[in-house]
């Protein structure tokens, strides 16, 4: 109906007249009767968290996005029903990311977006879970270096040169990519939507500093905080975490005012051993990241402490936090559980991976962790394992899939 504005004025008048007639008829017929006014249905303003055709569910509707970069084959595994859906082929995927609902298949030239049809809306004292059909959204420009971070309103894409675009989340929810807004300036790190603002870094006189922008891209008052060589970002319940060479910046917000606090490693950490690829159970305040090839960093954001756990050669890491073990997939193909406090190994699975995997390989198996279960992809075995991380790493379910799932990301949160 927006076509109305594009038509000639005579045509527009005709269309309007039709609407008036309809309204006259319906509003007289409706008077004194039950139900909302028929005009309500003419609106394009969708209620918050609502998508036509979406169904509210009593529990989280977890799904796994799977991709084989060589064949391009992509699947969505529904963890509630156990069914597998095929989605558009994406070849040459270097990373597969998600904001909990939308899947981001990054390739050297562009990023393919899909709506996984599973998500959560947090209302503070309670949450709502939704399931809907899986939808292809199409491609957005961006190279292999592109980083995407989104919240309930915007999705920010920062490319390798530090240029950033903002996509409207409402459009994505309606199944369209929409036209992005360009965020002015060059950004020295990935732009992170947080607390109705945008966190970014600007470089001046050789120093990289935190900058807080409003959603229009205009700077607002920002705490003075330097961050050398920013890389990696995550949002926790205690604030946004931005990786720096000497630790992380923890950025918080209260009543529109931002604070920044450095959580330093407390020791010199070689560049190859700093935490970059933060892994997190959605919503958790415990972050993990490989510390080089034979150890893992655990950042407790609540306690503001770093713990370095010595492990075997690391392929992938994760933890549910809150007393759950640190999960480390090692080159022996087995999942190992470590007590975060003592650093002791407390559990270990049989080798789960097919074939050999080298330490620190990017784009290999990952551990996706939610509150109840963890998931591990075995690409060459064409399988996904469901692990009960609180029950001695018991393999709860094994899903066979018809592709080599080299890349995996969990949605529904």
């Amino acid at each position: 109906m927006t076509a109305l504005t594009a038509r000639g004025s005579a045509a527009a008048r005709t269309s309007s007249a039709v609407i008036v007639t309809l309204l006259l008829a319906t509003s007289c017929a409706q008077s004194g009767s039950d139900g909302p006014s028929p005009r309500a249905h003419a609106s394009s303003a969708a209620p918050h968290g609502y998508v036509e055709g979406a169904e509210e569910a009593p529990e989280q509707q977890s799904r796994l996005l799977l991709n084989d970069p060589v064949s391009g084959d992509s699947r969505v595994l529904d963890l509630i029903t156990g069914t597998v859906h095929s989605t558009a082929s994406v070849k040459g995927t270097v990373r597969l990311g998600t904001d909990g609902r939308f899947g981001h298949f990054h390739t050297a030239r562009s990023t393919h977006l899909i709506d996984s049809g599973a998500w959560t809306v947090d209302h503070g004292d309670h949450v709502h879970y939704y399931r809907a059909a899986i939808r292809e959204l199409g491609d957005i420009p961006g190279g292999s270096e592109a980083r995407m971070h989104g919240d309930s309103a915007v999705t920010a894409v920062t490319d390798g040169e530090g240029r950033a675009l903002l996509y409207d989340r409402d459009e994505l929810e309606d199944g369209r990519i929409g036209s992005p807004r360009t965020l002015p300036g060059t950004h020295a790190g990935p732009v992170l939507p947080y607390a109705e603002h945008l966190l970014t870094f600007t470089e001046r006189d050789g120093t990289t500093r935190l900058a807080v922008l409003d959603r229009e891209g205009d700077p607002v008052e920002s705490p003075r905080a330097a961050c050398d060589r920013p890389r990696g970002a995550a949002v926790t319940g205690r604030g946004a975490v931005l990786g720096c060479a000497d630790g992380v910046l923890l950025v918080g917000e209260r009543d529109g005012a931002f604070t920044a606090e450095k959580i330093s490693y407390g020791e010199d950490v070689p560049a190859a051993q700093r935490a970059v690829g933060f892994r997190q159970r959605p919503g958790s305040d415990t972050l993990t990241a490989p510390a080089g090839t034979d150890a893992v960093w655990v950042l407790d954001v609540t306690e503001r402490t770093w713990t370095r756990v010595e492990t075997g050669p690391v392929v992938a890491v994760g933890t549910a936090g809150e007393g759950s073990p640190l999960l480390v997939l090692e080159t022996d193909g087995a999942l190992h559980g470590y007590d975060i406090g003592s650093g002791e190994e407390v559990a270990r699975t049989e080798p789960l991976l097919t074939g050999e995997h080298r330490a620190g390989t990017d784009g290999g198996p990952v551990i996706e962790v939610d509150r109840n279960r963890s998931y591990l992809n075995d690409p060459r075995g064409r399988r996904v394992y469901e692990i009960d991380h609180d029950d001695d790493l018991r393999v709860a379910r094994t899903f066979d899939v018809d592709i080599e799932p080299h890349l995996m990301a969990e949605t529904g949160w």
Partner: protein, 309 residues
């Protein structure tokens, strides 16, 4: 552009349509209060309910024409205390532009949220908006709505409104009596609601129940659960001696089955209506039917073999 057009022509439509122009308007946010308001108002005014059946009061939003309608109302009846999160700013805007509003939950002596060890703590101590699970408070709400209609909605027959309210008040009094009688069949030590619902605090307070907040194992967990997944819930069931879980689950049968393996004996999973009326004919299409359905489900769930009647 389009919504502006519609609003413009809608206004035109209203004035050119005689029946519509003469009819005073009352806008109600939630469908539960919508039903009660209609009982009170009868044919005296047009009542528009913004929240659809089977919707969620926390997350439903308004279209631009609905928001405009709110601002033209003679009276806005809303639940309040933060319940209709996405509508409250529209209600505030209407009040600021001179529309009479009544925040029902705030006026019926709200309780504060209390949570056990297993429940969320973020709202502890905050006023609880879910007052409708106590039918006595709904009686006070009925009186309150009637007073506001008489005072603020021009052209209504005050005597008719008061008579409607009185008649409905009697139905609510009957409801309370019937609920008391039904619940009396549940031995005191079994009056415990093991539940993931967060709305039954008022009912519990009024009829002497304990609410034992529980985390219900989810769909992925239920596929292959371990004892630790069920521990919190099974412990609650063991300490309370209650074998019925009042919960929304996508797999209630599977949940009952795994709990039966864990705690032994007979286990039931029973769903309740909580924050919304259903569509007509679906079991809870009026406030009275919703309360009776829940009372019956609770009584039968906690005392096997009894019926609510």
């Amino acid at each position: 552009m389009l919504s502006a057009l519609l609003a413009l022509f809608a206004a035109g439509a209203a004035t050119s349509c005689a029946t519509e122009r003469d009819q005073p308007r009352i806008v109600v946010t939630t469908n539960i209060l919508g039903d009660v308001t209609r009982q009170v108002v009868g044919d005296e005014a047009r009542v528009t309910v913004l929240m659809k059946p089977n919707a969620d009061p926390h997350s439903f939003g308004l279209s631009a024409p609905q928001a405009a309608e709110l601002e033209r109302a003679d009276l806005v009846v809303f639940n309040g205390l933060g319940l209709e999160e996405n509508v409250l700013r529209h209600v505030t805007a209407a009040r600021e532009s001179g529309v009479a509003t009544v925040e029902v939950a705030r006026a019926v002596s709200p309780l504060t949220f209390r949570f056990g060890d297993d429940g969320p703590h973020r709202q502890e101590g905050q006023p609880d908006p879910h007052f409708w699970t106590d039918p006595d408070r709904m009686r006070r709400a009925t009186g309150l709505i009637a007073e506001h209609v008489v005072e603020h909605v021009g052209g209504v027959d005050a005597a008719a409104i008061r008579a409607n309210a009185e008649r409905y008040d009697e139905s609510l009094e009957d409801l309370t009596r019937w609920m008391t009688r039904s619940f009396a069949r549940i031995p005191e030590d079994r009056r415990a609601l093991v539940t993931n619902h967060h709305v039954f605090g008022y009912l519990a307070d009024r009829f002497g129940f304990r609410v034992l907040g529980a985390v219900i194992p989810s769909g992925t967990t239920l596929a292959s659960p371990s004892s630790s997944d069920l521990r919190a819930l099974s412990r609650l069931m063991e300490t309370s001696g209650v074998r019925t879980v009042f919960a929304d689950s996508s797999q209630p049968k599977r949940l009952a089955e795994v709990l039966r393996e864990e705690v032994g004996g007979r286990v039931q999973v029973v769903e309740l209506y909580s924050e919304s009326l259903t569509a007509p004919g679906e079991g809870a299409d009026t406030y009275l039917r919703m309360m009776r359905a829940n009372t019956k489900a609770m009584t039968e769930g906690l005392v096997p073999g009894t019926s609510g009647d």
